[in-house]
């Protein structure tokens, strides 16, 4: 009897060790940086591509996907599964702080959803500038992430710039008379609306900080049940604490490109989602312009890149980010990769360190290829080593290197 028990126990141990051989990494956080993460995830697999991915057509804009394959240099012959569900920078940090489980897609199409606490998250802003400042994580800067303000199809072409002081009042009220933005008294009766993200967004944190905004903003959203109207967003989309606003940059981009919208509106976006609004010249994966007067507009008098006139041309696949690099344009932040402190020598730690270098390599390749390939372009972030200025905090002063 004892022998049987021993054999059974050994068998159990073997089964357990076999099961542990598989490596599962759960990624959450920033929606604005998801394109870069997608490319880095792909590149980490042997041969630069996973064996399988669900959904099969997942790409740089996909918010939830699962990829599987091998990464010989890290884990030998073990099967590695990367689960990704981008839910917002701040929310990702909150998930790590509170050990909150998220729902991920099964690698098998149609398979049961997988529930797990994320092991790595991405944040567009330092954790110290978020509501999850006490999250017990190792934080590493991996890139510079530019953000932009976009105008929707109904916004007059004369709106080419928005200032931080205009934004302060615009966020406080949700809408202001259009003439403030066009400089034309004939637009006194017109209304400029503002849309934006909920509190789980790093883009929102960065935008507010950079404009020295202190307050609780009113945001408008496109009302799908009453077409043609902008309506105050007062329904929580993801929990009480996360407040009102779109839960992803992609959803906000959809609102900003809606041709049925009843009036002018501006909002902030990460550059990847902004390309949905404005179009890009990337030849590998051309983006369709949102139409009408959709365009990126200047912020405090500067655009984030040169050789672009709002509304007159698509965004270059590899923009000249000189205004950011030199310190003229300030709406940017350090993209951070976050890992729980408890992972110091395990498989998650290996993947974390690999990912840090992988993301930089991805950006390098994107630049080498000029953004003109479906794999590497368009370029929507900057390498840390390119910067000739720095800042000590989100929205903080910008100092030459």
């Amino acid at each position: 009897m004892k022998k049987i028990l021993t054999i059974a126990a050994l068998g159990g141990l073997f089964a357990a060790s076999t099961a542990q051989a598989d490596v599962n990494i759960y990624i959450a956080g920033s929606t604005a940086f998801r394109a870069n993460v997608f490319r880095a995830v792909e590149a980490a697999f042997d041969g630069g591509t996973p064996t399988s991915i669900n959904p099969a057509n997942a790409g740089t804009g996909t918010g939830v996907y699962t990829a599987q394959g091998t990464m010989s240099s890290l884990y030998g012959a073990q099967t590695v599964t990367i689960y990704a569900s981008f839910n917002g920078s701040v929310q990702g940090l909150e998930d790590l702080l509170n050990n909150t489980s998220l729902t991920f897609t099964n690698i098998t199409p149609g398979g049961s959803a997988v529930t797990a606490v994320p092991t790595i998250t991405f944040s567009d802003v330092d954790k110290s500038s978020t509501l999850a400042a006490s999250a017990p994580v190792t934080e590493t800067h991996v890139a510079i992430l530019p953000f932009v303000y976009c105008r929707n199809p109904l916004t007059p072409t004369t709106v080419t710039n928005v200032t931080g002081h205009q934004l302060q009042s615009l966020w406080n009220n949700g809408a202001l008379k259009l003439s403030m933005f066009t400089g034309n008294t004939n637009d006194d009766s017109g209304i400029m609306y503002v849309t934006g993200r909920n509190k789980d967004s790093g883009t929102r944190v960065c935008g507010g900080s950079d404009a020295y905004y202190t307050g609780s903003p009113i945001l408008y959203g496109f009302n799908t049940t009453a077409p043609n109207t902008w309506t105050i967003m007062n329904q929580n989309l993801s929990g009480t604490l996360y407040g009102f606003g779109y839960s992803s940059g992609g959803n906000e981009a959809i609102a900003l490109t809606n041709q049925l919208a009843s009036g002018p509106c501006i909002g902030y976006e990460g550059l990847n989602d902004a390309l949905t609004v404005t179009g890009s010249a990337c030849t590998g994966a051309p983006k369709v312009n949102g139409g009408g007067n959709c365009a990126i507009i200047a912020y405090d008098g500067f655009l984030p890149f040169n050789n672009y006139t709002p509304g007159n041309s698509p965004v270059p696949a590899y923009p000249d980010f000189t205004p950011i690099i030199e310190g003229q344009y300030s709406f940017w932040s350090y993209e951070c990769i976050e890992m729980l402190n408890t992972h110091t020598s395990d498989t998650t730690y290996q993947y974390y360190t690999n990912m840090v270098s992988g993301l930089d390599y991805d950006l390098l390749q994107a630049e080498v290829n000029g953004g003109n390939s479906s794999k590497y372009g368009p370029v929507t972030a900057l390498r840390l080593s390119e910067m000739r200025c720095n800042r000590s905090s989100v929205g903080g002063s910008i100092t030459p290197n």
Binding site: N98, V125, S129, T130, L131, A133, Q168, S169, W171, N172, N173, G174, L176, K199, R204, V205, C206, G207, G208, S209, Y213, T214, G215, S216, P217, I218, T231, I232, M233, N234, T240, L241, G243, S393, V394, G395
Partner: protein
């Protein structure tokens, strides 16, 4: 027997979870009035939800705030005393909620206890919107703090102690101390000279004179409707006394007086 043990364990686990799990205890709703208390240089503020503004606009008799909406222990645990105490009451209607958007309720401190404070200068809806955003941030800071802490005697449905330094960049000034600013005017958003805070002296509790602050309802573009006043007594009792509403008999007597006065004038003119 096993299931009995399991039930006990489950209950115990549930109890332990309830002790440690974060829960949003503080219950703020748009249109509520917040009583906010601080001491300059203090580490904590006490934020008290004293109910819907309509409760005060429609009050027909005194409302006792202390003891009902917050306790003296909460005040003590926040590091606050009755001396050198700064406090205000405010509330708003955010766009999208019932009522006139950017309507504000704000206190206006009396300089003495006999003269009603001068109503605030009318402001546009957009200007009041700037103040509204500051008020909502303070409310969010209280809600957030309550969420991150377990329910306790210091974290209740109507009152919560908030760190006076709670200020998350991009999320706004989430503490009362930072949001109201050093001059009690929401960092100038309510008007550079419009200090809505009442304060007590360093020897307040040694005296017998209470302090009062008036409550005004400000729909955009109006100078405000006087609703009554809050009175803080030296023993810590805080009450709201509504604007006296003339009773029907009083009105009738007043009307009779007017008629009498008119008749007397006619008589004197004829003579």
């Amino acid at each position: 027997m096993k299931s009995y043990k399991l039930a006990i364990l489950t209950a115990a686990a549930g109890f332990l979870w309830s002790l440690s799990a974060p829960a949003q205890t503080f219950n703020y709703n748009n249109g509520d009035l917040l009583l906010s208390l601080r001491t300059p240089g203090g580490n904590s503020d006490l934020i008290v939800d004293i109910g819907a503004a309509s409760l005060y606009a429609n009050a027909t008799g005194p409302i006792t705030i202390s003891g009902n909406y917050f306790t003296s222990s909460q005040l003590t645990d926040a590091g606050l005393g009755l001396n050198n105490l700064y406090f205000s009451v405010f509330g708003d209607i955010s766009p999208g909620y019932p009522g006139t958007a950017n309507t504000l309720w704000v206190t206006d401190p009396q300089s003495d206890n006999l003269v009603e404070a001068t109503p605030w200068t009318p402001q546009t809806s957009a200007n009041q919107g700037n103040t509204r955003a500051q008020m909502e941030s303070i409310a969010y800071g209280a809600t957030y703090t309550s969420f991150t802490e377990a329910a306790s005697a210091d974290n209740t449905i109507s009152a919560v102690i908030v760190p006076s330094s709670l200020n998350i960049s991009g999320e706004g000034a989430l503490s009362y101390t930072i949001g109201i600013g050093p001059n009690g005017n929401f960092n100038g958003n309510f008007g550079s000279n419009n200090d809505i805070e009442q304060d007590t002296t360093a020897t307040f509790t040694s005296g017998t004179s209470p302090v009062r602050t008036d409550l005004f309802e400000m729909t955009p573009g109006s100078s405000g409707t006087y609703l009554g006043y809050f009175e803080l007594d030296t023993d810590g009792t805080l009450t709201f006394d509504p604007q006296p509403v003339p009773e029907p008999t009083t009105l009738a007597a007043f009307g009779m007086g007017l008629i009498g006065l008119a008749g007397w004038r006619r008589i004197t003119r004829k003579s």
